[in-house]
Symmetry: C2
Subunit: 362 residues, 2 copies
C-alpha cells in the first residue's frame, strides 16, 4: 500500500465553481473561457500568441506541421526526455538525431547539438527537464548560425525562467502541457506559443479541422480536431489564479529535499544554473543501485517515478532506426528516481519521504 | 438575430451531478468513468470492444494507423461527407478515391465503390450521413470479395440501425463522435469500436502514447495522447441514460418535418430504406435556389447548416490532387440545407421552423 502518491492535482472548490458556472450558462465547448485562458497564459509567458489545444502531444505535432517539417528532415533533440518529444518527430516521418544531455542539469548540451548538425537538419527541439531551463542564449545562436528552427517542448516548463525570461517564451514555437500531474492542470490540455503571425494563423486553422475562419464547412488545409473544451479551460483559469502559490510551495519542498540529501554524500540532485529559476515540476535524484533503492522507497510507502529510465533511442519505436549512444543520458537514466513534489504535500509528508530515502540508501 | 439555433446540447442537472461527483473524489482524468462509458457503448452497439478517445477525428486517425494504412494506399470514400472522413485519409499520406453517393439516401453507392477499386485499394471507408445507414450487406460483400478493410466513420450514426443491427457494429473498425451537436455528447469525445482482439490491444496502446501497459515510461509503438477525461465520460454516461428519449424526440421532429414538407412538392427529404432506422442526427432538405432560400430561413430567425455544401474533392486541401466529379454529390451539395433537429426543440419551435421554410420557398 502506497501512503504518499507521486502526484495529485490540487483540484477542488475553486475549479468546481468555475466549471459549475459553465453548466449554468450551458457553454462547455471551446469558447470564451478558452479565450480567457489563452489571454492569461499569453501574458504570463510573454508571447504574442498563446493558442490552446487538447494536449501537449498534439501541440508538438501541430508545431512541426506548421513549420513544414517533412519526411527525412532531421530534428536534433535531447537523448533523454518524455516519449512525446521524440514520437511527434517520428509522426512527421522526420528523423530524430539524439544530442546528449548535461550530466548535472539534465538538459540538452549546446556542444552536442552542434555535432549533430548535417545538411538535412531542419530544427533543434529542446525540452526543459522538469522545468529546468536549457541554455537558450547559446542554443538560439546555434540555430541562427545554421538557419535552423528552434522548437521548444516546454511541456514541463511553466513557471521556470531563463535569465529572467519565462520559459515558453523561447523558440519559433514553444508547446506546453497541462496534464494532471503538471505544475497546473486542465486534466488534459496543451498550449502553443509563438510570436509569428503566420504561424499563429495556421495553428488556429489546423486545430479546428483546417476550416476557413470565414466560411463554415470550407476547409483550406489539412487540419485536426485539437480543440480544448471550455470546461477544461475553466479549470485551467482557476488553477492559474493559484500559480504563484503552487510554484512557491514546490520550491520550498525542493529546498527541503536538497538540504537533506546534500548531507548524505550518496545522492545527486539536479543543478540549477545561477540566474535561472527552476519550475520544479520534477524532483529527480540520482543514486547508485537505483532499482533496489527505488523498490525500498516504494516499500516504505512513497510512490516514485523514473523520468526517464530509458534514453529515447532505446524505446522499441526508435531503436530499430538508431545505434545512438549518449553517455550522460545513459548515466542518468540508469540512476534517476523522481520523488513526490506537489503543493498538497505536508511538511510531515516531506519529512517522511526524506526519511524513507535515507533509510533506503543505507 | 437568430431565434432558433441549429443545435444545442441537452446539458443540465444530470450531467452536472455526474461531474460534481468526480470533483468530490478528485478523479477527473481517464479512469473508472471512462471504463463505465466504454462498457455502456459496447453493449449498446453490440461490439466486443468500445475504446474511448478524445474526439471522432482522432478515432479515425487511429483506425487507419491500426490497420497499417500507408502512403500511397487508396481509400474509397463517399464524395460528400464531413471533412474529417477525408482529411484523416490524407493524414496517412493515403489517396482518397471518391465514390458517388445515392441521390436519395445520401450514402455511398455500392456500385460506385466497385468502379473505384484498383490494385492499390486497401480499404472502403463509409459514413452514415446524418445517421442514415449505408447498405452494409452489399458493401461487406464487396470488401470480402476484394480483400479490402471496411472502416466505418460512424461519427453521426449513434442510434441508427441497419436491418435491426445497430450502426457502429459494422466494419473491421468503426469510429464515433460525441461532439456537442451530436445525438449525445461528451462536449468533445470519440469512440473506436472493433471485434478484433489485436486491433483493440493496439488502439489501447496507441491512444496512450504507445506505452507498454505492463511498464510505465516504456513505449513500444508510435502513439498519441488520445485520452478522454473522466469528466467528459461522466457527461457521456448521463447523456447515455437519456438516449432513448433523445432518439424518440428526434424521430418525432423528423416525422413532423416530413409530413409538412411532403405537401409542398418543392422539398426533397432524405430517403430511409425500409428495415433501416435513421438516427436523425441531421435533418437535410434539398431545394432549388438553395442560397436564396437558406438566407430567407435565417432571416426568419432559424439557424441552419449546409452539410455539406462542397463535395470532399472541392475543398482546397483535396482539390490539388483530384479531378473527381460525382454527379449526385454535386447535386446534393448544391441544394442541401440542414434544419434544427434536437430534443430541446418545442412543438411551437417546430411549427415556427416549418412556417419559415414554407414562406422561404414561396
Amino acid at each position: 500500500m502506497k501512503k504518499i502518491p507521486w502526484a495529485i492535482p490540487d483540484i477542488g472548490e475553486d475549479e468546481f465553481n468555475e466549471v459549475k458556472k459553465l453548466f449554468d450558462i450551458n457553454w462547455l465547448s471551446m469558447g470564451p473561457q478558452t479565450a480567457k485562458f489563452e489571454e492569461a497564459m499569453k501574458a504570463y509567458v510573454n508571447r504574442k500568441y498563446a493558442l490552446a489545444v487538447n494536449n501537449g502531444t498534439t501541440a508538438l505535432d501541430i508545431a512541426f506541421k506548421v513549420l513544414g517539417i517533412k519526411p527525412g528532415d532531421e530534428i536534433i533533440l535531447p537523448a533523454m526526455t518524455y516519449i512525446a518529444t521524440g514520437s511527434m518527430v517520428l509522426n512527421q516521418g522526420a528523423v530524430p538525431v539524439y544530442a546528449d544531455i548535461d550530466r548535472y542539469t539534465f538538459t540538452i548540451m549546446p556542444e552536442a547539438i552542434e555535432k549533430c548538425i548535417t545538411s538535412k537538419t531542419k530544427a533543434v527541439l529542446t525540452m526543459d527537464y522538469g522545468g529546468n531551463s536549457c541554455d537558450y542564449d547559446i542554443i538560439e545562436k546555434i540555430c541562427r548560425k545554421h538557419g535552423l528552427y528552434l522548437i521548444v517542448d516546454a511541456a514541463q516548463s511553466l513557471g521556470g525562467y531563463y535569465k529572467n525570461k519565462p520559459l515558453g517564451s523561447f523558440g519559433d514555437i514553444a508547446t506546453m502541457s497541462f496534464h494532471s500531474a503538471k505544475v497546473m492542470t486542465t486534466i488534459e490540455g496543451g498550449m502553443i506559443f509563438t510570436d509569428n503571425d503566420n504561424y499563429a494563423e495556421k495553428i488556429m486553422i489546423m486545430r479546428n479541422q483546417g476550416e476557413d475562419p470565414r466560411e463554415k464547412y470550407k476547409h483550406i488545409m489539412l487540419g485536426y480536431n485539437a480543440r480544448l473544451t471550455d470546461m477544461q479551460a475553466a479549470i485551467g483559469l482557476a488553477q492559474f489564479s493559484k500559480i504563484k502559490k503552487y510554484l512557491t510551495r514546490r520550491a520550498e519542498i525542493a529546498q527541503k529535499y536538497i538540504k537533506a540529501f546534500s548531507q548524505t554524500g550518496k545522492i545527486q540532485t539536479i543543478k540549477i544554473e545561477k540566474d535561472n529559476k527552476m519550475a520544479w515540476f520534477l524532483f529527480p535524484i540520482l543514486v547508485e543501485n537505483r532499482d533496489e533503492i527505488d523498490k525500498k522507497i516504494n516499500e516504505f510507502g512513497v510512490d516514485t517515478r523514473r523520468c526517464y529510465h530509458l534514453p529515447l533511442y532505446k524505446h522499441p519505436m526508435f531503436s530499430e532506426y538508431s545505434d545512438a549512444y549518449c553517455e550522460n543520458a545513459e548515466y542518468i537514466s540508469a540512476r534517476v528516481i523522481n520523488l513526490p513534489i506537489f503543493p498538497k504535500l505536508t511538511d510531515k509528508n516531506i519529512d517522511f519521504i526524506i526519511e524513507a530515502v535515507a533509510n533506503a540508501i543505507k
